[in-house]
Symmetry: C2
Subunit: 426 residues, 2 copies
Amino acid sequence: MKTELINIGNELLIGQVVNTNAAWMAEQLNMAGFSVVRITVVPDHHDDILQALGEAGKRVPIVLITGGLGPTKDDITKKALCEFFDAKLVFSDEAYQNIIRLFGSRGYPMTESNRQQAYIPDNCIPVPNDHGTAPGMWFEGQRTADGRRQHAIRYPQSAIYISMPGVPFELKAMMSDHVIPRLKEKFHPGAILHRTVMTQGIGESFLSDILEPWETTLPENITLAYLPQPGIVRLRLTGTGDDENRVAETVDAEIRKLEALIPEHIFGYDDETLEEITGRLLEAKNATLATAESCTGGYIAHLITSVPGSSRYFKGSVVAYSNEIKEHTLGVLPESLARYGAVSETVVAEMAIGAQSRLNADYVIAVSGIAGPDGGTKEKPVGTTWIAVATPEGVFTQYTQLGDHRERNIRRAALQALNMLRKELV
Amino acid sequence: MKTELINIGNELLIGQVVNTNAAWMAEQLNMAGFSVVRITVVPDHHDDILQALGEAGKRVPIVLITGGLGPTKDDITKKALCEFFDAKLVFSDEAYQNIIRLFGSRGYPMTESNRQQAYIPDNCIPVPNDHGTAPGMWFEGQRTADGRRQHAIRYPQSAIYISMPGVPFELKAMMSDHVIPRLKEKFHPGAILHRTVMTQGIGESFLSDILEPWETTLPENITLAYLPQPGIVRLRLTGTGDDENRVAETVDAEIRKLEALIPEHIFGYDDETLEEITGRLLEAKNATLATAESCTGGYIAHLITSVPGSSRYFKGSVVAYSNEIKEHTLGVLPESLARYGAVSETVVAEMAIGAQSRLNADYVIAVSGIAGPDGGTKEKPVGTTWIAVATPEGVFTQYTQLGDHRERNIRRAALQALNMLRKELV
């Protein structure tokens, strides 16, 4: 079942805003069994909007539109839709009550331009906007249940057009809660199931070498996508079919084969993060965590504390960028620094043990490395990284050679360290 | 001078990749004096590509195309272009030498599919790809200098078509170094000048209230854009005209008026970050910095250490998520914690002073707050935040009430703290 997206907004055409809405919509539609065959971005300009609406409806049966529904003069989508569907604006009490509810909850005074947002074309079905004042509009070329007239006068396509706000969180709630359920109900696109396997510590090309023999034996109704990010590769399995249970069984069977092929690289499923998983494992053990960071510069602590409720298990961190802090605050021995250097197995282990006792934590992650672009030597080039994990049973170390890109090195070192902790916790 | 973009690639239509190329291209084209009036995303599918090429060239004189130039079977853009322009593939020695150069520098063996990339349509001008194997292709409906024939046989438009790779860093170098200079040379779009003023600590709507009287007096050839991010609003002034020096003078004059209106909120120009600016100020003073972070959880240290060379002035950080670490590692008094609570002026000042002496730094940023979503009380709701900056002259504190979104609160608190440090440094 094919769809097209039309994203309306000048901000998208001057590079001010990246069109993340389109990617999110495409992903959601695909996961619901609808494909997106074209995305068109047009300015807040009458003729351009009308042209795009006309073209899309000739190609596909479903057209999803975002943007241009705000209360300001620039926003002309509703006017263009009225012209396209030969409609008049009528006051919608349903939409008005929603606006009143929102203004009440936020304590703002209602203005006339906000009241105007309750006017909608007379041949559309309003779609609730649970987080904003602009209602969505669903245009369908058939008589609706309550006898409203058909839209298809000037442009006699039978396509369904759905207009939604461009504000991302308003759009997302409207799509997920209202539009996609209605589309599924109407079109029954069949069962589609996605499961994502999260891997860390192995690059895409190495993964694909290992997985190729398995990949070629995948059943026809299962596809595999590699979704790489710095430090992480997500493997997404998509199964389709008529019977939801059968599809789920087939996907699960393939995931078990995949687990057997790369057991040490899988850390989670379905977009869970390492910081969430390690946090849950720590809470289950009633254990506490601290970090001692050199080259990662606080990034591991930042990832851990980005999880709500992390104060229940995270005690804190010492970011020991200078050797002085490694010595005085973490208790690293001056002899170790002098003899092995800050980026060494001995020093990273001493950082972990020092933080464990001084920050009084059950587990500690410590990292010391050369993030770059400067600071590399012949013996220790940029990317040289040592990781230690201190546990109640002892301290474990790992060496890894990262690349030459500072930001990516910081991220990869942090994820590798979190995954090393995870393995100690399970 | 109007342009359209056509981005080709299945990955853009399933939501796997966000179309950041389009936003970057639109920004670069706008800055060079070209406008983008439509962006079309189509799959790696023959008919869709041909249809999009035909439509765009009827609307605008310049069409920029990305994607589908790789060596694999999925990539069919070159084949589609050959059909569109009625061309034959010919071996380009110029393109081949570039491929050999790249493989040599990377030490990879050359494969037959890579050699195939040296074949280009016989009626295009190759555009050098300095970072990849796929050459760009410039199609122009006029006889080229060396007598190659016109392309305009099947589709008799006069538009220029430029096909480029979709790999972002290959595309960016090709656009910046080759395509935009050639377009400017050919079309002389006139002088265009952008300057960005970076502000912190004031929201978009408050800014616009203050700036509106000035904004309405802007000369006709100057436009203002508000570009908000969490914690920061960028104000971009764009000036156009025939005489580059006159445009620069006019823009500078308006920036001086702007500086007089909001002196305390401007921290920099042209996309400099607060972490870069404070780093430079510290280096100029030969001074050192440390952070003592509670609710920001290491994020300030992460921002500071994301700047290459930050080890010259950044000593480190104590992330004191637990009260225990606030006491033991930073020396916060137990009485202060008991009497005022962790989120208080007294405790944040003691954190700053403690870090200053214990981490031996000239300047310290300390933050304590309630990031949310939990942990708020009636007296101290989510968003309550205290910031302290310790300097050689003493310690300064600031209270701020942020919102209810954890991630944004962490970012806003970090930026506000860095800006407070900047003000103390200047």
